[in-house]
């Protein structure tokens, strides 16, 4: 990475950090024959031989995470994660440098049409959440900053982290906010707050309540309306060729995503679990070459493993197949690797990394066909799909996941801020039990704030569960 790509603006601090973390991860992964930090002489030694401009980045990053990515089985996916983080944020920085209007949007809105308007779209939630994934300190400082303004702690850290960074000027203030009405009031209210606090226009895209033709027609209207609003606000227009280019990237990305999803049906399960949070968050890059590269790399890694019937758990352990009926915890990716190593427990699906196969390919013939296809895909984006309408969608998706991925335990690590989830949690576990006989293990977490259910506590809960089996 060319360090001249780094901006010296304070509001690029977080973006710079992500770029540098990506690069630093790749530096470590380049070293052959190394499978842990200890092999390199331990953290102090590593810090010592890193180029000076990366030493402070090293201080930020979670050491257990670095140990996990150096393991042989995790290297390929780790390279994809760090490469993607570096390239994507480098792109974002470059585009922002070029003075293009900056849009922050809800993560479950596919951004192709915004790239095609020559805007710079970044998922608002990712700006905070990726700190949780990479850093020892996570995004807790952002969360606390927002709460210090008097806002309740039952809001979702997906937004409060990023909003806190906005308040402290660590991420760029967007020129426009684009939000959709799903999933919830908690996320919506933070957009309302940010819009009013920073005087940023807010463009709303309604998520239709019904997964049918009428709903789809409405979504098409809404995407078109958003494009018109963005044109009015930024003066930029939608370019057909650009749209086609970005949709081709996302078509490729989604098709690899779905192929990878198919592989999760296999026994042994060939996809390592540690990178699930990135699998969701890097959907934000849909429309860029990076997202296609990311899911392609993951797919190829899993496919290679599947072809030789390899597994991600130690030899001799019995494979246990978990589905996460909510999702992952961003702050402890090593936890998912630990589950594999310690318990032979693999990570099949969760609500944030499941896309139904019919989300498929967008027809690139014309602007009209592309918008229609993008509108349908918008209705299938993770979390959006399961919260737009009736809870049946969430529940039935998990019956499908449990059956298709041959799950033997449904783990509901329920996000404390998700009122939707908690109001349907028993309907979910009951239906899964009824249709598949699979039991549920349930506990509370905050997906982005490690203080709520710290890593050791999660391990204790899982140890207890497996010991009682």
């Amino acid at each position: 990475m060319d360090t001249s790509q780094l901006s010296d603006r304070k509001d690029r601090t977080i973006i710079n950090n992500y770029m540098k973390s990506g690069y630093m991860g790749l530096l470590l992964l380049e070293m052959e024959g190394i499978t842990s930090l200890a092999d390199l002489g331990g953290p102090e030694a590593i810090r010592g031989f890193l180029p000076e401009e990366f030493q402070d980045t090293f201080d930020l990053v979670q050491l257990p995470l670095l140990d996990v990515i150096l393991k042989e089985k995790n290297r390929a996916s780790a390279k994809a994660v760090f490469r993607t983080a570096m390239d994507y944020f480098e792109l974002v920085n470059r585009e922002l440098e070029a003075g293009k209007p900056h849009v922050q949007h809800y993560f479950a809105i596919a951004p192709e049409f915004m790239w095609a308007m020559d805007l710079v779209p970044v998922a608002h939630e990712a700006l905070g959440a990726i700190s949780s994934i990479f850093y020892r300190e996570g995004c807790e400082a952002g969360i606390d900053r927002t709460l210090a303004e008097g806002y309740p702690d039952h809001l979702c850290a997906a937004q409060t982290g990023s909003v806190g960074y906005l308040l402290d000027g660590l991420i760029p203030k967007p020129d426009v906010l684009v939000n959709n009405s799903a999933p919830c009031d908690a996320s919506n209210m933070m957009y309302e707050y940010a819009s009013n606090k920073f005087d940023i226009p807010l463009v709303m895209i309604e998520s239709p309540y019904y997964q049918n033709e009428r709903g789809w027609k409405y979504a098409i209207t809404e995407i078109k309306r958003a494009i018109e609003e963005l044109e009015r606000i930024t003066g930029h227009t939608l370019d057909e060729d650009k749209l086609r280019e970005h949709v081709e990237h996302s078509n490729e990305a989604i098709s690899y995503f779905l192929k990878l999803q198919e592989l999760k049906r296999l026994t042994p399960m060939p996809d390592t679990g540690w990178h699930r949070p990135a699998d969701t968050l890097f959907l934000i890059q849909l429309g860029t070459p990076m997202s296609a590269a990311y899911y392609k790399a993951l797919y190829e890694d899993a496919k290679a493993r599947a072809d030789r019937q390899g597994s991600v758990i130690p030899e001799g352990k019995k494979e246990k197949r978990l589905a996460w009926g909510y999702a992952w915890m961003a702050y402890d990716l090593p936890f998912f690797d630990w589950l594999e190593e310690e318990h032979g427990a693999v990570y099949t699906g969760d609500v944030l990394t499941y896309i139904p196969p019919h989300a498929g390919v967008v027809d690139t013939t014309s602007v009209e066909t592309m918008i229609e296809g993008l509108a349908w895909r918008f209705m299938q984006m993770p979390m959006g799909r399961q919260t737009m309408g009736f809870s049946d969608v969430w529940v039935n998706d998990f019956v499908t996941i449990v059956k298709q991925f041959k799950v033997d335990t449904l783990v509901l690590a329920g996000h404390m801020a998700c009122k939707h989830f908690w109001a349907l949690n028993k309907l979910l576990s009951d239906k899964v039990k009824e249709e598949t006989g699979v039991p549920t293990l349930r506990f509370e977490v905050d997906m982005f704030d490690k203080r709520f259910t710290p890593g050791p506590e999660m391990r204790r809960i899982m140890n207890e569960y497996f010991a009682s089996q």
């Binding site: 009405s181 009031d185 309302e192 819009s195 009013n196 309604e206 309540y209 998700c418 908690w422 109001a423």
Partner: protein
């Protein structure tokens, strides 16, 4: 018993005499969860709308099997009443996606409470022409589905008639609010609230007749100016006078509000001069003074709050929110900050749906009164 006394003390659910009478005459009742519900359509279809409440429900043990401690106690309490059989009188239940928690009531209710007919009306989270078109189609579908299910016809004429009745309520309630604008106030805020709550749980024509009489009685009363401060109450769903009694017990006089059971339901009329009653209904409900669940409307809502506060010459604003309500959880603080910036004292008060920990509430209100008491 005078009309005023009757409306002040009208019982809810099973004990409600109007409900009992209605059911005895083979009338059918459709529950609704939110002020975006077009009650006129239900009434025009010959059914009785009943705004769901859970007054008196203090323990949510049955509901908490399905909901969780992170969920708002309002849907939990309504579900509790449902599971305990207190809503067995319902023939239908119309849920709206007013907020994400109340709408999640739909599926649990469908599976575990015995109401024959259920319907979901969905409303967009922002104001636009496309959104109005969606909402209008939703309520049209609702009207048709009601008709099919209950074997009734609902004509345009029926709709206009219902609109007239509901507009009459709105006019009468506006008169009630007008009586509270002077220093000398003939009715406390908690009593005024009781009068309004009754509107939602009895046939609206009968209510109008009673309210009209009650207004006469109120007008004949001597007002009082023996209070420390004039208060506007805003915030989350409030369908029980207890919190207002606490405020008034500490010397406040609640003279107006921006509540959905209050001014937001009665503050503006449906236009009666068009061709299409369904369009008039849709426009009214969709565009009406919005709840924070409607995005992009904060400035309007702040403006509305200021207007109501100024109109009633208020000394301070109390914004209450139910624990775990995300919409009001954020909005009350945004509003309070906005009001304070403009020089209007405002406080945010957290509560559960069924009040508990009254000592804390009293203390906080008392402190606010000390700050804003009129010289």
């Amino acid at each position: 018993m005078s009309a005023f006394a009757e409306l002040l003390a009208l019982p809810s659910r099973g004990e409600n005499p109007y409900l009992q009478e209605w059911k005895k005459e083979a009338g059918r009742v459709v529950g609704v969860t939110c002020t975006y519900a077009p009650e006129e359509i239900i009434a025009a279809s010959g059914l009785l709308p009943y705004r769901m409440e859970a007054r008196g429900v203090t323990d949510t043990g049955l509901a908490d099997v399905y909901f969780h401690r992170f969920n708002c106690t309002f849907p939990r309490s309504v579900l509790q009443a449902g599971l305990a059989g207190e809503y067995d009188f319902l023939d239908g239940f119309c849920v709206l996606n007013g907020c994400e928690q109340i709408r999640r009531l739909y599926e649990v209710w469908e599976k575990h409470v015995n109401t024959d007919y259920q319907y979901m009306i969905t409303i967009p989270h922002s104001i636009s022409d496309a959104g109005l078109a969606w909402y209008k189609e939703e309520i049209f579908n609702f009207k048709e589905d009601l008709g099919k299910n209950f074997g009734i016809r609902c004509t345009n004429e029926d709709l206009w008639k219902a609109i007239k009745v509901y507009n009459e309520s709105r006019r009468l309630v506006q008169e009630l609010y007008a009586l509270r604008k002077d220093d000398s106030v003939p009715i406390t805020g908690s009593d005024a609230a009781r009068l309004l709550f009754s509107a939602f749980i009895m046939p609206r024509e009968k209510y109008n007749a009673l309210l009209k009489e009650a207004l006469e009685e109120i007008r004949s009363k001597d007002g009082t100016d023996d209070y420390k401060a004039r208060i506007l109450v805003g915030g989350a769903a409030l369908d029980d006078p207890q919190l207002l009694e606490i405020i008034e017990g500490q010397g406040g006089m609640v003279v107006t509000d921006t509540l959905c059971f209050g001014s937001r339901s009665f503050g503006s009329l449906i236009e009666e001069d068009g061709d299409d009653p369904l369009h008039a209904i849709a426009k009214h409900y969709y565009n009406r003074n919005p709840c924070p669940r409607m995005l992009g409307q904060f400035k309007n809502r702040l403006g509305y709050t200021e207007e109501m506060a100024q109109g009633a010459r208020v000394d301070g604003v109390i914004l209450e929110k139910i624990v775990f309500c995300d919409s009001h959880g954020v909005d009350t603080t945004m509003l309070a900050d906005g009001l304070e910036e403009k020089g209007m004292p405002a406080m945010v008060l957290e509560r559960e749906y069924a009040l508990s920990d009254l000592g804390r509430l009293k203390t906080r209100v008392e402190a606010f009164m000390e700050r804003i008491a009129r010289g």
